[in-house]
């Protein structure tokens, strides 16, 4: 190491600009690409599924979703609504954080945490009500793969909420960037779930 190099002036001060927010944005983009690619393959398989006659013989149907499988629409629609509530809660946290109101930040994140647990609970309810095996058909293999991946992203978000909440509990009022990053992740997750909900649960 050339010691003379250390004698030169050091560079200008580094201005760190919203690292957590940028990372959250990048990870949200990666999550969108992950689920997006899985849904693209899902749509490809659905489009290429063989045709069969309907039970009354009046029309041709894609042989995709086995007739025995019923999607529990109440539970899946509840999940979608729970995502909306979660987004409102995380926005409340951002609003409070901007005003350095750590009590409200903690409260908002606490409620968000509960709604996120409710999301996991609803996903388990969907699995229980459908009562299908992974190896039953092509559909079930893909159904479990895409929904379990989505659930994993929710669990990661839940961990993110826990971390942000604990920091807020410790009265870290300077954490606005982190609260905003947390909100960005959950907004992205809500948008991703909305797409998945439409493709997998509504269009089937």
């Amino acid at each position: 190491m050339s010691t003379s190099a250390t004698a030169l002036n050091s560079g200008p001060k580094i201005v760190v600009r919203r690292q957590a927010l940028v990372l959250s944005g990048l990870m949200s983009a990666a999550s969108a690409m992950l689920i997006g690619s899985m849904l693209a393959i899902w749509l490809q398989f659905r489009a290429n599924a063989p045709l069969r006659e309907s039970s009354d013989g009046s029309k041709m149907l894609r042989d995709w979703l086995p007739e025995s499988i019923k999607i529990p629409e109440v539970a899946t629609n509840t999940m979608m609504l729970t995502f909306v509530i979660t987004c409102i809660m995380v926005q409340w946290a951002v609003y409070s954080s901007r005003r350095a109101d750590s009590k409200h930040v903690t409260l908002a994140l606490g409620v968000a945490l509960l709604t996120e647990i409710a999301l996991i609970n609803a996903q388990i309810a969907v699995y229980m009500q459908m009562d299908i095996g992974v190896r039953d058909s092509s559909y079930t293999v893909m159904f479990y793969a895409v929904t379990a991946t989505m659930s994993t992203l929710i669990v990661i978000g839940l961990g993110f909420t826990l971390m942000t909440m604990f920091r807020s509990l410790a009265s870290r009022n300077s954490d606005h960037d982190l609260v905003l990053a947390h909100a960005v992740y959950w907004y992205a997750l809500a948008a991703i779930f909305a797409t998945m909900w439409f493709v997998v649960y509504v269009q089937k």
């Binding site: 050339s2 190099a5 030169l8 560079g11 200008p12 580094i14 990048l26 689920i35 190896r135 379990a148």
Partner: protein
């Protein structure tokens, strides 16, 4: 331009006071220094490079004559798979990202890496993932493997590798976007930084696509084993990530390395610097082709309307990335006309590295012309070798250029140039014969049977090329180690060029 205070760049773990072996090892293993994380990744990826080239030599020897029996015929698919997976995920991707980890914070004047522990975690995920991938191949796993548990292990290992590279890419991109020194805009950032940003964001957008396909394959393989083609389906579903245009994204940084070196050689701002940024950006359009997981071919038979219909996507997905390389190459050669330009040894490696990548891209264009019938021939393998080995050449050029700025000792000029030329010879010999053999219909992924006319000649030359490249890599690594320990002390001037705008 301000020089970097090298000591301030180092974190605590860089200057650990312990003298015993344990403390030295632990200071490396638990480091948050971007230098060390980058150097760990580059070092391990060089080992993988050697391993991959050895596999290339073995496959070449098997192809020369059917009487040679180095490998079990049942392992052929796995060996070809080791070559591809090892080259992309063991060598090229981590080497590119490792160099970016080590250099980028220095160039933007940041003392630390954003989420340095995350980057270290990512590097270890990649490291252990590749070990699992290697173990699964040894245990008859991988694509085409006979042991289902080992195939599952392969999928797990590849998943870890993807996750690791994703985390490292995110750390690099976040560092560039958030931790530049005051007053440095993205447009002002050194060209290597720009290329690293493009590479890392491209990987953040494309690796999850591969992960999505891999999750389906994993669930399918563990339970039903038919929807996604079981063991043989792995190649079908993730194969696109091991070939063009995905490999072009990993070659984006070669343009940054070349432009950075040329910028230093001409001692000033490069003319039409905006053009360089555009060129690198245009090359990254390869990601559009990647995320669609499809190949776009040119149909020359049929009426004019059919040809036109296939021509547009063909040009967009195959020729546009090549245009980016041509722009950067042209601008670099234009800059070299500057009479103040002072030759640099690392330029040889960087220039020919980009040249090899360009040759690979040209081959890819030919490959996608259906009437030439080059698909499923060794022509495909040659494209991978040109681009993959081209990136390795360029990365070693980057080590020759940036290395002395890290360890403070010069690399000798003539040995670097000599070895560089040997490396170029190795790549040309390893790949060009397969371009020719592709036109004689030598099948890809096959070591026996009808290998086509004059196949023995082409296979012999290609094997010689692989051997030369192996010698080059080993000798270059030896030279780097020797130079970093006992090379001539570098003068101050080189530290000033680390941040220089090219």
């Amino acid at each position: 331009m301000t020089a970097i205070d090298m000591n301030s760049v180092m974190t605590k773990s860089d200057t650990v006071s312990g003298t015993n072996l344990f403390s030295k090892i632990s200071s490396w293993l638990l480091t948050t220094s971007h230098h060390r994380i980058g150097r760990l990744m580059v070092s391990v990826s060089l080992l993988w490079t050697v391993a991959v080239v050895v596999v290339g030599v073995v496959l070449g020897v098997e192809r020369i004559s059917s009487s040679t029996d180095l490998i079990d015929p049942g392992s052929t698919t796995q060996l070809f798979s080791i070559f591809r997976v090892g080259l992309i995920f063991g060598s090229v991707a981590p080497m590119t990202l490792g160099i970016a980890l080590a250099i980028v914070p220095m160039q933007i004047g940041s003392q630390v890496l954003a989420f340095a522990r995350g980057a270290a975690f990512g590097a270890y995920l990649w490291f252990f993932g590749m070990i699992i991938v290697g173990v699964s191949y040894i245990g008859n796993g991988g694509p085409g493997g006979g042991d289902p548990q080992m195939v599952d292990l392969f999928i797990l290992g590849l998943g870890l590798v993807i996750a690791g590279l994703l985390v490292v890419s995110a750390s690099i991109a976040t560092t560039i976007l958030t931790s530049r020194r005051a007053g440095m805009t993205l447009i002002d950032a050194p060209i290597f930084v720009w290329s690293s940003l493009v590479t890392s964001i491209s990987l953040i957008l494309t690796l999850p696509v591969m992960a999505g396909a891999l999750i389906y394959v994993a669930v399918d393989h563990s339970y039903e084993r038919s929807t996604f083609g079981a063991t043989d389906g792995i190649n079908a579903w993730i194969g696109w990530a091991l070939t063009s245009p995905q490999i072009f994204l990993l070659a984006v940084s070669t343009l940054g390395v070349l432009a950075q070196i040329v910028g230093t050689m001409v001692r000033g701002r490069q003319p039409l610097r905006g053009g360089l940024l555009i060129g690198i950006g245009v090359m990254s359009t390869a990601l559009i082709g990647t995320v669609t997981q499809s190949f776009y071919s040119l149909q020359l038979n049929g009426n004019l309307s059919d040809v036109a219909k296939s021509l547009l996507p063909f040009l967009l997905f195959n020729a546009l990335p090549m245009l980016g390389v041509l722009i950067v190459l042209g601008l670099c050669l234009l800059a070299m006309k500057n009479e103040k330009a002072k030759p640099s040894a690392s330029f040889v490696l960087a220039f020919f590295g980009v040249g090899m990548v360009l040759t690979g891209m040209l081959g890819n264009v030919l490959l996608r012309i259906n009437d030439l019938k080059l698909s499923n021939t060794v022509f495909e393998e040659a494209v991978l070798v040109y681009v993959g080995y081209g990136v390795v050449l360029s990365s070693l050029g980057a080590i020759a250029y940036f290395g002395p700025r890290i360890w403070g000792r010069k690399m000798p000029t003539m040995p670097v140039i000599g070895l560089g030329l040997i490396g170029v010879l190795g790549v040309v010999f390893a790949a060009l014969p397969y371009y020719i053999a592709g036109f004689t219909d030598q099948p890809a992924g096959s070591i026996s049977g009808q290998l086509g006319d004059n196949s023995q000649i082409w296979n012999s030359v290609a094997t010689a090329g692989q051997t030369i490249f192996l010698v080059f890599v080993v000798a270059f690594v030896g030279l780097v180690i020797k130079s970093s320990r006992s090379g001539e002390i570098a003068d101050e001037a080189i530290f000033e060029t680390v941040q220089a705008n090219s």
